[in-house]
Symmetry: C2
Subunit: 200 residues, 2 copies
Amino acid sequence: MASSPTIEFWYDFASTYSYLSAMRIEAMAAEQGIGVHWRPFLLGPIFAAQGWRTSPFNIYATKGRYMVRDMERLCAERGLTFALPAPFPQHSVLAARVASVGVTEGWLAPFSRTLFEAEFAKGADISNEVTICHALRNIGLDANRIVAEAQQPAVKEALRARVAEAQAKGIFGAPTFVVGKELFWGDDRLGQALQWAATT
Amino acid sequence: MASSPTIEFWYDFASTYSYLSAMRIEAMAAEQGIGVHWRPFLLGPIFAAQGWRTSPFNIYATKGRYMVRDMERLCAERGLTFALPAPFPQHSVLAARVASVGVTEGWLAPFSRTLFEAEFAKGADISNEVTICHALRNIGLDANRIVAEAQQPAVKEALRARVAEAQAKGIFGAPTFVVGKELFWGDDRLGQALQWAATT
């Protein structure tokens, strides 16, 4: 039996370009009959390993200003709202842990889209538990139960293991799409990655 | 009288993604009736100003390995050959000075394409005057006269001024497309930049 083609979507909730991909990947993948594995991870430890203590968009201010303008133009083209949250980047550990609970419970994709919109369309602070709970309730979930579950050692460990897996795969930024052994970095490569999944 | 829309194409001969744009920009711009101003510059002084002594693709090896694979895939899609020259990045000062002579003599675009192909399709060393002369002769030019001209103080100064202009515009990478006050960074943004030029 041939299985359907799939693509791994690696994203960090703090990442502006991950927001772009989160909002379009399911529709684009569905058009080609491709399944999407949502893989929330943290860029922080990967950046730290190469000597960065914050986002390269903060380290290199000119690049950071450009990124904001680039996001404004791309969001306008796609009918999305864009607001840079303060501080940027947001601390995304709690969001990633909560998302990790969703990996096994089936609500990962809608939760991720809802939280990305809160953060990058409305400028909400995703390090704040209230923002996370609001996103969970927006899609009809028991926020209190899930946030408590997200603090369990097994969930924290699953997230650490996923970050290690990302690093082992050679992931150095977000979003990254993985098809077999091929990495595709950036929202700009989503179309090419799906094409790869469909034809190989 | 309304003038035709134009786009500035800022590129460094050492830049892999500038090769991609150099090979397609004229055809894409012509389709929309847009004129292209080729602007050869040097990323080195701009990288140095933010503390980099070499390409970020060397500083961050994982990113460098990814870039090579990304180039291989993109070149294959576009029917281009790709070979990473050694050393990478190439020293591009001589190439940029020679190109600067071409700015006022009308052969800048064909010279640039020919040299990019020598470097990134055949792996030639563009810091070697022989490579530069070969590219000039390939398009029917007097290589000896032009290479001598490229060493004149006025040409060196024109290149320095162009690098300063790039920095003043907020350019931090190559290729960069400029339309009015809007910057578009990377070969991935060429289509959007042309769209901008056509409609604003």
